[in-house]
Subunit: 726 residues, 2 copies
Amino acid sequence: MSKDTQWKYSETEINQEDYLKNESLMTVSNGYLSLRGSYEEGNMSYGHQGTYLNGLYEFHDLHYGEKFTAYPDKSQVMVNLPDPKTVKFKVNGESLSLETSKISSYHRELDLRSGILKREFVWETYTGAKAKICSTRFASSVEKHLICIKYEIQFYQGEGDYSIESTIDTNRHNISKEDDPRIGVEFNHNPIVILSRGLEDELMFLNGETYDSKQKFNVYLLNEYNVDGIKVDTETGILQDQFGDDTSIILYKYIWLDKNETRDSKRAFIALKNKGYRHALDKHSQWWKQQWEHMDVVIKGDKLMQKAIRLNLYHLTQNVGKDGLTNISAKGMTGEGYEGHYFWDTEIYMLPFFVYTNPDIAKSLLMYRYNTLEQARSRARQMGHKQGVLYPWRTINGEECSSFFPAGTAQYHINADIAYGIKLYYEATNDWKFIQDYGMEILLELANLWLDMGQFDHQGRFCIHEVTGPDEYSCLVNNNTYTNIMVKNEIEFLLSLIEKCQEESSGLSLKSMELIQTFEVERAKRVIEHMYLAYDDTLKIYAQDDGFLSKPVWDFAETPKEKYPLLMHYHPLTLYRHQVCKQADVVLAELLQPTMFTPEQKKRDFDYYEKITTHDSSLSNCIYGIMAAELGDLEKSYEYYMKTAKTDIEDVHQNAKDGIHAANMAGSWLGIVYGFAGLRIKDGELTFNSKIPKNWEEYSFHLRFKNQVYEIKVNQNDVKIIEKNC
Amino acid sequence: MSKDTQWKYSETEINQEDYLKNESLMTVSNGYLSLRGSYEEGNMSYGHQGTYLNGLYEFHDLHYGEKFTAYPDKSQVMVNLPDPKTVKFKVNGESLSLETSKISSYHRELDLRSGILKREFVWETYTGAKAKICSTRFASSVEKHLICIKYEIQFYQGEGDYSIESTIDTNRHNISKEDDPRIGVEFNHNPIVILSRGLEDELMFLNGETYDSKQKFNVYLLNEYNVDGIKVDTETGILQDQFGDDTSIILYKYIWLDKNETRDSKRAFIALKNKGYRHALDKHSQWWKQQWEHMDVVIKGDKLMQKAIRLNLYHLTQNVGKDGLTNISAKGMTGEGYEGHYFWDTEIYMLPFFVYTNPDIAKSLLMYRYNTLEQARSRARQMGHKQGVLYPWRTINGEECSSFFPAGTAQYHINADIAYGIKLYYEATNDWKFIQDYGMEILLELANLWLDMGQFDHQGRFCIHEVTGPDEYSCLVNNNTYTNIMVKNEIEFLLSLIEKCQEESSGLSLKSMELIQTFEVERAKRVIEHMYLAYDDTLKIYAQDDGFLSKPVWDFAETPKEKYPLLMHYHPLTLYRHQVCKQADVVLAELLQPTMFTPEQKKRDFDYYEKITTHDSSLSNCIYGIMAAELGDLEKSYEYYMKTAKTDIEDVHQNAKDGIHAANMAGSWLGIVYGFAGLRIKDGELTFNSKIPKNWEEYSFHLRFKNQVYEIKVNQNDVKIIEKNC
């Protein structure tokens, strides 16, 4: 295998401790479907096989000891599907198991450059036979329904019988509930009903449906062997034969998964299969090659960081939904943490990467919000708002899945985050048509919500009560500074667009036109002007919320290491009662709105909040790292950056088994681009304030901004910003 | 039947609409056991048979979509037991059913003076037979395990066969979950396991156990007939015989229920039975007669109010646990609302009635808190407190059952409420021994909690963050004024006791001595001195909490009547976001601490909060009524009083079916004693400021204070306070 280690995520032994983590990290996906990096043989007692379709969910009943109005009845859970990659290989009656068989020369690597997972090892059977097994898989980045697996066997010792069964294994389940609010649900039924399964010519098919949510899906499998005089049982798909010491077998598995959205899927699948494995592989690799041209970040002088950033960008790119109907969940499709839900992580953490490297994907993410506007409208009514929309805190299908509203529905900032995403996309792309057709409608409805929900107090200040900001260690607060800042910015942006509409021939969608008619422009202007931000005149810092600074500071000195993350060890009331932050809140707002605050202000806020932030959320380190760079503390910035970039590759939180930390991965990109390179948009223009960590030789990356591609190259001596031909 | 209607709660027809309500209101209980006022015949399709033992609960698993540290795993639910009152009466093969049979001359009345429920009616069978049936029941107030029923049948037309089966019906269940946070649970198992049942001589027995909580109970039944030549089948307990037009049968049912706490229960039961029905009845009535001498409130000139107050006092007295191991639940033992849980209702609403009329019961209620101190200690540790105890917001066995902590566990004021109860009891009884043996220990532990939880802020003010006050329409607030006031008072009281201990020869319990050693007296003094109370200098009112007055006022004009109670129609966030109160909060604090505030202050606070209080809690009207009286608005006070006193008797909230509103019932006593008569303790002495509603001729009641009984008699001309011989 290749030595080009900075493009490879690999392992050289089978290690129970790392196995689940690497199942997550070695996932192959294309944003539509995914396979966790489990073995084809499937019989690892400590593994968790996972096959997922983005957006395919089963309902899970939510129970409440005390249930109040507008509590969601059901959550949506990403379903673990029947497993089509399965290969059961027997030699002289002995089954291959990478857990119990005698295995040597094991090596597995994910080639990040091409999105191909390859594994090889030698198996010595109890009967003395030896075979080298090599399997290769990829989830086609070009044909979204397609997965290909090449399973090669080379005997080089012994003789006897062997059998190979390539099948769809239905004995796969979602992980069960753990005593951790972040993981798992308990279904009281099998989430999947198999409607039919069988063999049509050589095509093995399974048509299924989720039990309660009634979502149909299909799994197809075509097997192709290179063996002469092949003896495959057409009923079972089992190949049985004799082997000698130079027998070699190659099995190609073509797999198709769909959500029953196309009619002629079998025919389409057969046509793809007929083009052959090599064809599919080449097109797939080609796609990845092109992606890396836009998106690669090259780091010279730090091999681990080079590999880490590539692993992270690989996962962002492969896990993101690209069809405007799906999104990217907190764990991608690499595990079942957070039940496969989409959060604000998308707009605030991941979207910038796509906006600047692949704006089509960025647009499709925003289209997902547009396509779920109706659910957000209906949610706003449930929540008692007379107008506007309220996006769900966590969701798959656009409906709220949050069962603990203080750290869920109360995070109204999701609305402002989506607005921020639209603004970012528009500023970087100038895609006015998107604004006309979709963006304007979303923005108007988002603003309508704030106008309904916020209130001018008796001093004339616009206040937003009873929300939760990004920091979930303080819930149900008044005037969360992050929220108020983001809302101010959102409405400013909207008003600027309304002005632009009036100047230009409009071309707005009918719905936007209607909404503009009734939009309270004057009130919106007053909101901007009088938006209340909680500021402490003594400390000269922004308070995270009205009551925040009145609370006692958490006793960090008395908190042993093993009590982190705090949420796993302290009741929410204990956390809420103290000044202690799970993650960046005020500091994040100041990153996102760079021109609203003086450097001195940002410094004071950074210094204050850094002391009380635990970074128990994986969304925190990257933000602190970026702000440290802005504030001139490159050493500190680098420390935060290291923590960010290593989160998954070194499994810092010991929970990569449940899936990647997708937002944090994006944070490692932000850490370089916003952090070290100091990218900010100011007055609609790209600006940089670039630095380089002292142990790096050079880093470089590409950005697309207003239809121009730039290469940014920073070394210890200088900074180059090069305009490229698109 | 008697015409003395002011002692009778009665009905003259079988009315589906009122049936469940009257099942609740016609409950007979003695604080140890209870029977809802369901018919012996048991076959009402719209009824809910209920047989309960105070303190006997089954665990119910609590589920959370997202579960955090120290969330309770299980709730406790008062169990509906096998029903021993059952009588199945057949004539010529036709079963008597008060729902479907031809019934006339129906009358049922609960004699409040004697605690006896009597029902009579005439049944005309399809075969033309006519019988008058009269049944009488009481739950012995003297023998806590005993219930007696007399079931009389007088035929006066027709002839043929009849049969009577007197049995224990095991086909009884808890009410199932409704879409109302206040009612019902869903057991996924039968909460009761029958360990054995059978007949021993004539004693029908059933030994049972709750499924998960493993609490044993026994139900015994002895039947006695007055019929000559009786033909009772010893296996089934069925009496079968012929009747003519003057046949008369009397069945005496002796019922015994216990929690398996005594060994020789069968023998004890038989001994009681052998003394006969009349004996038991006389002793029972005698007890009630004595109670009424202490506790009756006589109202002349308002028959409905006279009846209402008696119904209310009857229920308080019969439903209260009297053994120091049980308490009185929000619904007594009259229904399954709030799952049979005990709340702060006890100390703040019900305890005063017992303190002033029956201090032994008051003491036993406080002993319940003493006896669950260990659970409260352990709960404080779970909640991260280094010292002190935290009482559960809702419980049966002393462990927290609240599954929604913002309106549950966060109500830390329960601690201060219990302290208040101890102070009230001590001030009214001078029971120094109780303080020495028990009270001091509780008070020290309660105060320890506050010293751990509260903090001095940078201005040196003692603050209590992140709690919920009595008003559940604002949750998780800082410096709830009610809480802070009550804590201040609680610690003042404790310090005065500590001083007294130092003056006198101590005699304290060992545990209290230990606790005093480490108690931070100086810090406690500083807490009192610097307790922060949120005061608004512009409005010159106490803010309910730090952020309360900054929120917009609820739009009452736009809220239609059918949207009340608000909690059933609006998401908590909508409620929390507004100035809107479910119930008295600041106003309650000012009632409980009468000397802390000027009359002008109380008036301003009353006027402000009254406008924004919905009284959606049944704990509210009584408090507003009392304060209106204090502030001189007798007319308004009377209106509130009427609403309070009528809550159950006229089923104002349409939910008496789930049980009485026990705290509100006590509120009707407070409304007279604290409200119209104006009782306050000031500097340890009784004071009165008595008034009388203009349409009443006179009201009078007795109070016991420091071993002296007083009769207070108020008419339109004067107020008499008469010292009585004890």
